[in-house]
Symmetry: C3
Subunit: 437 residues, 3 copies
C-alpha cells in the first residue's frame, strides 16, 4: 500500500522536494528543437518541475533556458527582445546572455561592475534527436547526455511530439508501465488494428493472445536503468506470448512493438508542475526510415498520437469534453471504452483520477506489481539522492535497451530465456555515438 | 442571531458533518427516472452531499448508485461500460453490480476470493413519482419510502423537474419558507398573473391582499413533519387572507395554491455540495390531470420553472449574466425586480448573497420567524441524530399535509380555526398506498 | 531592499490594514459622474480597497455609495430599485437613502423604531472634474475636497477615463513614477510620435535626448504632497534635458508634457482589491480646450489611453491574449516592445510580474531611487496614520503642482534652478476655487 506520505513524496517535484531533487539529476526533455527554430527566434515560456522559465535560441544558435523573470523588477522576459546574443527585458532593457549573465544595463552604460554582478538562473541545454534537453541539477553532478536509441538514429527514422497531460506525471507514467490494461482499455483499437497501434493489431497470434486470454503472469526484474517488465499471456498453442516493457529512470517507458519490422514506440512523462505533465511520444525504427503512411498517421493523431488544439499542446479531445466519449461506439464495441485513440483512452482514465490521485485509497493486486516496484525504486532513488549515494540510469550505456515481444514455450520463465531476451532487448545503438540531431 | 458556528453547522453537509449525518437519515431525490431511462443506459455522474457518485440502471432495470471511483486505481466509473448486470471500469475491466459487489476482474479470472472481497460504496435506490430516491445513511436506520402526495398521484397529474442552484441549499430553502418576500420580489408577477404562478395572480381578493396590504402577521407552529407557517394579510373586507406554507424535514417546502382548483406546487432544496444545490420543482393536482396549457407553460420555463441551458441543469438566466436583469422592465414595473420569472427572481437574491452567506451579519425581524424556527429545528434534529434519539418526519404519514390559502375573520387566530385548517391542509393521500411511479 | 513584511504592508489595502487605513484618509476617485448619469439611475457595483459597495444617484441627484449588501438577509442591493430618494432591496423591499439610513420596511409599515435603528455603511461622495470621489475614513478626519488642477478647468479642457489594471495598485503606480523605462519600453512610440504621446515624440531636442542618451541622472526631492522626481539626460548641446514627474500622495502621478503647449497628463492608480486596480487617465490643458484631434485620439485609445472591451473596463489587449504581442513589429522596431500603445506596454510589464510581485526578490539600482523613496514615504505615512500624526497631501493647496520638462545647462543641479523649477511646476490653479464639475 502507498501511504499518504509516500504519495506526497512520489508526486511533488518542485524546488525543495525530494523527488524534485532526484529528477534534477537527469537530463530533461524541454521542447522540440523546432520550437526555437532559428537564431534570435521568439522566446518560449516553459514550466518544468514547477519552475517558470524562458527558452530561446540566441544569435549564435545556442539554446538558452533562463529564469523567466528579470531580476531587476521581476518582469517576464517573455515580453523581451531576443537580439544580439541575448534576451533583453522590455521594461528597462536589461539584457542577459544564454548563460544568464547580465550583459547590458542601458541606464548604467559603462558601469561594468554592476552588470557583471548580476547573473540569473540558467540551465544548460543540449539538442539530441530533434529535442532540446536541459539539466536542472547541481553542476558538479551533471551526467553525460542521454543516449536513447531514438536520439541516435537519423531524423528520417524518427517521429517525436508532445501533448499536455492534465494530471500528475506519475498517473501518466503508471499507465505506460501497466501492461495489464491493454486488452481492456485499448480492446477496441486491437480489433481495429491500425498501422501505428503500439499494441498488436494485425499479427494473428499476438492478437488472439490479447483478445482471448485475459489472465496475465508478470515477471518484473530490476534493470540497470530501471525495470524490465515482462507480462505473459497464454497463446494457446503451447507457447506463452510475452510483452517486455522497459521503464528507464526517471520517467521513460518503451512499449513492445507489434511485429519484428514495426517501428518502436516510447514515451517520456515529464512534470510541468504537480498537476500537469508533458506526454512525449516517440516512434522510431532502428534501421529504416519511417514510411509515408506511418508519418501521415502520426501527423493525423492516430495510434499513440492525438489531435491537438492548434497553437497549443492541449488535445482536441480532453477532460472538458469528456474526451468526446461516444456511447454508441462504446456500446457497439467499435471503441471498447467509447473513446477514440490509444492516447485519449489513456488520458481519460489517468485524468479521471483527479489532478493527484490519493494512492492510499487504491486496491492493488498482483497484476500491479510493476507499478508497485516503480514507486519503490523511485522512492529509493530519491533517498539515495538525498544521502549523496550513486544513482541508477545516469550512465548512458544503460539506455541501450529495447522493448520486445517474444513467444516462449509454456513453463519457461523469462529468467530462463536469458539469451533470447538479451537478443531482443539489447541494442548496441547501431548509429553509435554519432548524433543526428 | 445565528452565530458563525451555527452557520457552519447548518450549511456543511458533507461526510463527517452533523447536518450531513442528519440528512443521510432521509430518502433523497437523486434524479428523474427518465435520466436513467432504460436497462444498460448511459451512466450519469451524481454529486450529493459532497459525495461523488455514479448512477445507472442495470440490465434488470434496477437503479444503482455507487461510489464514482473504481477501488482498484481510482478511475472514474463514468467512463465505464454498463453491460450485463453491472458497470465495468474501462481501465482494467473490473465490474460492479448494482449493490457495489465486484463481479469480475478479467486479469484474475477464476480468483473468486479476491473478487468477492471487493465491494464498493452503494446506496439503495427506489423510484417514486417518476423520481429516483436514495438513502445514504446507516442501513439499520433506513426509513420507509417517502409518501408525498405528488408521488402517489398518476403521472398525468404531475410535473417535476430540477435546476441547479448556485448557492448553499439553506439559502435556497429559506426562500421557500419565506412568505414575506412574495409581495415585493414577485410583485410584478402577481400583477401579471400567469396560469402557473405559485402565488395568487388572478383571484381578486387574494391579489388585493397581496398588493395593498404589506403588513404580515405570522403564526408558525411545529408540525409532525416540520413546520406549519401561517402568514396573514388583511383582506380589507373584515377577513384576513391566510397563506399556509408547509416545511417538511429536511428540505421540502409546499407553496400555497392560487385558487381551490389550482395545481399545488412544492420544492426540494437538495445539497450537491456546500456551494451548490438542486432545486426540485413539483406541480401536481390531487384529482385531475394537468392541462395542456399548464404543461406547456411549465415546459416553457414559466412560473416556478425556468429555461435551462440545453444539456445542463443550469438556467439560461444565471449569475454570470445577472439573470438577464432588465432595468427598463424594473423601472416600468413589468417585473418589479427587473428579472423575469419567479424562479430566477428567487435565484437572483439567494445567489447574490454569495455561495454561503454569513448569517452572523444578518438583521432578522419578526417576519423572519419561520426562518429562525427552521434553523432551530434543523440544528435540534442534528443534535438528536448525534445522540441517537428519534427524528421527525421519518414516518411517511407525516407527509400527508398540503399547503393552503384561507380566509378567516379578522381577530381569529389560526390556532382557533383548527377544523378549517385541518380540512385544508390534511390529505389522506387519495391515491392511497398505490404508487404510480 | 524591500522585505516580505514591507511588501505586505505596502500592498494590502483592505479593511484592517495599515496601508488601507492610510488610503482611507484621502478622497478616492470612484467612477465618472456620467456612470451614474441622472436621478434614479441604474445602481453600479463598486469595489474599492477590497470593500464591496453599491453606487447610485438618488432622486435629488445626490450620489450615494453604500455597503453592497442589505443588512436584513445580505442580498446584493445591485438587484434593487433606485426610486423615490433611495435604493430598495428587491427581496423584501427594505429601502435605504443616500446616507445609508433605512427609510422603509414594508412588512413593518409604521414601525419607525425598527427602521430608524437600521443604518448601513455609507461613504460621502462629491463630484469634481466629472468624477465621483468618496471618503472612506473616519468622519472626524475628512479632509477638504481634492483640488487637482484638472478638476478645476472647464470640461472642454479635460478628458478623463479609467481602465482595469490586473495587478496590485503599487506595481502600476511604480510604473508611473519610473522615468527610466521610458526610452526602452516606449522606445517605439517615441519614434512614432503621435499627438497624444505622454512622452516626447515630435520636439527634436527632447526626442534626441531620449533616443541617443541612455544614462539618466536622478534628483528626487520630497514635495509638500509627495515627491518631485527629476530625471536628466544629456541633450548633447551643452544642456541637460530634465523631466520632472510629480507623485502626489497616495497614488497620483503627473507625467511631463511633450512641449510647452501640449496638454498635461496624469494618472491615479486606485486599488480595487489587492490584485486589481483602476488606472485613471487624465489629460487636460490649463488654458485651452482640447482639440478635436486630441479628443479623437483619446477616444480611439491612443497614447496613454487604451481600447476597452465594450461594456467593461477591461482592455481589448490584455494578459489573456499577451497584449496582442506582435513579434514582427518588435523585430522591426515599429513597437520596440512588440506591443502597441503606451498603456498596454506598461500593463504588459506590470502585470507580467504577477498579481502581487514579491519585492524581496528585486535587484534595484540607483535609477530606482524614486521607487525606493515612494515606498519609504508610503510606509512612513502609514505609520504616521497609525500613531495619529499629521499626514501629507491633505491640504488641497499642496496639489498645485505640475509635471514639467526643462533644459538646464550641464552641471546645473535641479536644486540650483529653484526659480525656473517653480515657474514650471507651480500652478495657482487658474480657475481658482470655482468647480466646473
Amino acid at each position: 500500500m502507498t501511504t499518504i506520505a509516500q504519495n506526497e513524496l512520489l508526486t511533488r517535484t518542485g524546488p525543495g522536494t525530494s523527488m524534485g531533487a532526484l529528477f534534477r539529476r537527469y537530463w530533461i526533455p524541454v521542447m522540440m528543437s523546432s520550437e526555437v527554430a532559428g537564431p534570435d527566434c521568439d522566446p518560449v515560456r516553459v514550466k518544468l518541475l514547477s519552475e517558470e522559465l524562458i527558452c530561446f535560441r540566441d544569435t549564435a544558435g545556442t539554446v538558452a533556458l533562463l529564469d523567466r523573470y528579470c531580476p531587476h523588477r521581476r518582469v517576464s522576459l517573455w515580453f523581451g527582445r531576443n537580439e544580439g546574443h541575448g534576451l533583453r527585458c522590455s521594461y528597462h532593457g536589461w539584457k542577459f546572455d544564454a548563460e544568464g549573465q547580465c550583459v547590458d544595463i542601458p541606464s548604467h552604460e559603462g558601469d561594468d561592475a554592476l552588470r557583471k554582478d548580476i547573473r540569473i538562473k540558467s540551465y544548460p541545454c543540449i539538442e539530441r534527436g530533434g529535442v532540446v534537453w536541459t539539466y536542472m541539477g547541481p553542476p558538479e553532478h551533471r551526467p553525460p547526455p542521454p543516449e536513447f536509441e531514438w536520439t541516435t538514429v537519423p531524423g528520417s527514422h524518427r517521429y517525436v511530439d508532445r501533448r499536455l497531460g492534465e494530471c500528475n506525471y506519475l498517473q501518466a507514467l503508471e499507465g505506460g508501465i501497466d501492461s495489464s490494461h491493454v486488452s481492456s482499455l485499448h480492446g477496441g483499437e486491437l480489433r481495429k488494428g491500425g498501422t501505428l497501434d503500439s499494441d498488436p493489431g494485425t499479427g494473428s497470434r499476438e492478437r488472439l493472445s490479447f483478445l482471448n486470454e485475459k489472465k496475465i503472469h508478470f515477471e518484473v526484474t530490476p534493470s540497470a536503468s530501471g525495470l524490465q517488465i515482462g507480462a505473459s499471456r497464454r497463446a494457446g498453442d503451447g507457447t506463452n506470448y510475452w510483452r517486455i516493457t522497459q521503464w528507464i529512470m526517471p520517467w521513460y517507458t518503451m512499449i513492445p512493438p507489434r511485429t519484428t519490422d514495426s517501428p518502436l514506440h516510447g514515451h517520456a512523462w515529464v512534470p510541468i508542475d504537480d498537476e500537469n505533465c508533458f506526454v512525449w511520444n516517440v516512434t522510431y525504427h532502428p534501421s529504416r526510415p519511417l514510411t509515408e503512411t506511418e508519418l501521415e498517421e502520426m501527423h493525423n493523431g492516430e495510434g499513440i498520437y492525438a489531435e491537438l488544439i492548434p497553437g497549443s499542446f492541449r488535445t482536441a479531445a480532453n477532460k472538458d469534453n469528456d474526451y468526446l466519449m461516444d456511447r454508441e461506439a462504446q456500446r457497439e464495441g467499435r471503441y471498447y471504452s467509447g473513446i477514440k485513440g490509444i492516447a485519449m483512452q489513456d488520458a481519460s482514465v489517468q485524468e479521471s483520477m483527479g489532478p493527484i490521485v490519493d494512492r492510499s485509497l487504491e486496491r492493488l493486486t498482483t497484476t500491479d506489481i510493476a507499478i508497485v516496484q516503480t514507486r519503490r525504486r523511485l522512492m529509493e532513488a530519491a533517498r539515495r539522492a538525498e544521502r549523496g549515494e550513486e544513482l541508477p540510469a545516469l550512465d548512458p550505456s544503460t539506455y541501450r535497451v529495447r522493448s520486445a515481444t517474444l513467444f516462449l514455450p509454456e513453463g519457461v520463465r523469462l529468467a530462463d530465456a536469458e539469451a533470447t531476451l538479451q537478443e531482443a532487448t539489447r541494442t548496441e545503438s547501431p548509429y553509435g555515438e554519432r548524433s543526428f540531431a
